[in-house]
Amino acid sequence: MPQKLVIIGAGMASGRMLEELFELSPQTYDVTLFGAEPHGNYNRIMLSPVLAGDKQFEDIITHDADWYKQHNVNCRFDEAIVKIDRRKKQVISQNGITDYDKLIIATGSASFFIPVQGKDLPGVIGFRDISDVDTMLKAAGKTNGKAVIIGGGLLGLEAAAALKARGMDVTVLHLMGHLMERQLDPAAGYLLQKELEKRGIRVVCKAHTSAILGKDRVEAVLLEDGALHPADIVVMAAGIMPETHPAVSAGLRVERGIWVNDQMQTSDQDIYALGECVEHDGIIYGLVAPLYDMAKVLARTLIEQQAAFIAPMVSTKLKVTGIDLFSAGEFGDEDSHEEVVLRDPARGIYKRLILRDNHIIGIVMYGDTTDSAWFFDKFKRGEDISDIRANLIHGPSMAGGNADPLAAVAAMPDSAEICGCNGVCKGTIISAIHNGANDLAAVRAQTKASASCGNCTGLVEQVLAVTLGDNFVVPAAKGMCSCTDLTHQDVRQIIKSRKLKSIAAVMQEAGWKTSCGCPSCRPALNYYLLCQWPLEYTDDAQSRFVNERNHANIQKDGTYSVLPRMWGGMTTPQELRAIADAAEKYNVPTIHVTGGQRIDLLGIQRDDLPSIWSDLNKAGLVSGHAYSKGLRTVKTCVGTDHCRFGTQDSTGLGIKLEKILWGSWTPHKVKLAVSGCPRNCAEATCKDLGVICVDSGYEVSVAGAAGMELKQTEALAKVATEQEVIDLSIAFIQLYRESAAYLDRPYKWVAQVGLQWVIEQIVDDIENRVALIERFEISQSVYRKDPWAEQTKPQYQSQKWAALADLTLEAAQ
């Protein structure tokens, strides 16, 4: 004869337990199920989508009347429990007395109502069940309804997003410094807040609620700082409290939750408990995965199988359409923790893995959670990730079985040159390491390896790794320079988000370790600021490298080169005559025709710069910016004007591009070319952006290189009109300006962000393309001008070009 099993609480935990039990042994028990709500078991996790209107209540019912009937469950829904009589083994309820052999308490939890005046006013509700949802939906039906959510955790934010989607005016009040502080670190919390604000949800952090105001029902929420937030409803989402009432009055052991052992047994051997109402080993669980584990254990315990609940590792996802967020494990800052961080501000992506002893102990992902399962699996299984650490953050596609890069470095002879700029070979670096240089900075200081262009930094680090073995830790994310641990992308993000508009402000707010930076961070900051705030920021000449400050290239003897622009490589007899005259007048020792289709005058004295510029200006010649991290040249062929193979007016297009783009500052130099046919005489396929004209239109390709590295361009798009070429070129350059790290050429930047992303941003997303072009034009309204004409103004003569003092006479006396 079956035993009598009585269950108090018809939620998800007891529901899953019943499924398990009926699966294992359908006949052992006669089940009576009490529920406080009029419904049976439904998927409470999906209340948010119901609230948002993405789902109906019917869609989230787990067990319907048929299911209960099929399993002979005696349903006693909408019936309150009066008390448990442990001695008689009876449950006394509103409508009678029920005997039990085994009793399960699964009463779940209730919303925690913060103890302030007004918390009991009508209109102040929790967010636990379908009736709460109904109340909220009624309020949302009103026009201009206002909702205030207290609590910026998982539940509160889901409610906020859903109510916003229903057309309400929504404010989230959160006590802590950033949203979801239990699951997210400040950086991810910041991105989340930004996204919610973009959707029109007001977010107030560090919000201390002082009182809830209203006469007959709620009218507003008052904060301690005096701010008043009008509200038609207030949703309490500041946490949950285990519902322990029947257990307490029955005299069971109750701590914060109902105490259970590993078998889910309470202090009474015939009474069990599971779900959010229990406390196991000091922990209360609010997420579904551990509750299901409890259900499994309890079902087995009930049929006397061995089973034990083990505290699981849990993860969190936010169920708000369009917001991808994942969190698991620990993520606090502790000395023993190392971390690997990937940020892509333009795409709003943030991934952070927290490591200890080569194991993942925490995961925070925002914006792209596709690899979360892969990371979570490694986390749960405690896998040693040292072999894949280098590419770990990029997920399974990248961190797979790559060949060991160290093996190649180890195999190099000592005579192999590592640093081409400073002629440092591997043996020199190794002896410096043996002399105590145990990190990159020390090797750099002792040998100068990687101290110039920095391209060999990775190689130098690998030599360090090979030489020092486990004693060398490759820095996870490199700071911009030794003045800060923040990366270039971090700093760009801070400038933007905190609206910092001077170098001093950035250094202050970002905690620079030096008083006024160094030659590597100052030019970068100057660029980031002028790129972000073109109309407000004033260029800092003192943070410019000499060439950009003096608008000429310094040569080895301290003289300069002067190079006038030749639009699209075209010139005229008048221009050539002016160049020849200037060359004679200023005794220019060297005249060179460059690879960018222009004429370079070399060996000019600094003092002569303003006057030679002035002479060239008079002939209509302007600066060629041959010295700048900016647009250099647009190389062309003569196209349909003369060439028998030309398919389009490549010269004309090149000139148009150059006239639009000139004067713009970019993270590194930018060179373009337009070839009139696929014979490609302008060598467009090794430029930062190249255009090949064909009969049917134009092939635009990007990210080529023909300097220290050689790389062919990759196809961006094929378009039919000149205007599209121009639009794509501007958008590409603006995207590069806004997202690349200073001194990364476009090919490096594209390799980092991926060509596909670039295509999505400027080819597929027309709106974004237009926005990029607009921002470029705003910047060009300031910068599309000739610096030579500017620098020859009289005030520059006295303040910059002239000597501070001339003591040649005095000293001679």
Partner: protein, 111 residues
């Protein structure tokens, strides 16, 4: 013995910048730091004679524009792995004016 002569106003040099004073035996670079300290050094890097006056000034140092040697403004010595030193000259600010010791300059041109 010193012979201070007024060469210019402090404000003639931008903060974190340098300018030159011409003398018969070459240029002297005069620097003004972020904190308005001033320094005078030969305007020729000990490495390859690069014009230090055109370098980026950071803290009490300047980085040569030619090959990034970092020169300590107080001592004239190269910092880090590089070795070399340039002459430094006495300079001071009084009432917003820059004063340079002419006698030291004369010694230099005689040497």
């Amino acid at each position: 013995m010193t012979n201070w002569i007024d060469i210019a106003a402090l404000s003639d040099i931008p903060k974190r910048g340098g300018r030159v004073v011409k003398t018969t035996s070459g240029c002297i670079a005069v620097f003004r730091t972020q904190n308005d300290q001033v320094f005078a050094l030969d305007d020729a890097c000990p490495h390859k004679k690069g014009p230090l006056s055109e370098g980026i000034v950071h803290g009490n140092a300047v980085t040569c524009p030619l090959h990034n040697w970092v020169i300590d403004l107080e001592t004239g010595s190269a910092k880090g792995a590089d070795e070399g030193q340039v002459n430094t000259y006495q300079i001071k600010v009084e009432n917003g004016r820059l004063l340079l010791d002419l006698n030291q300059l004369k010694t230099r041109s005689a040497a």
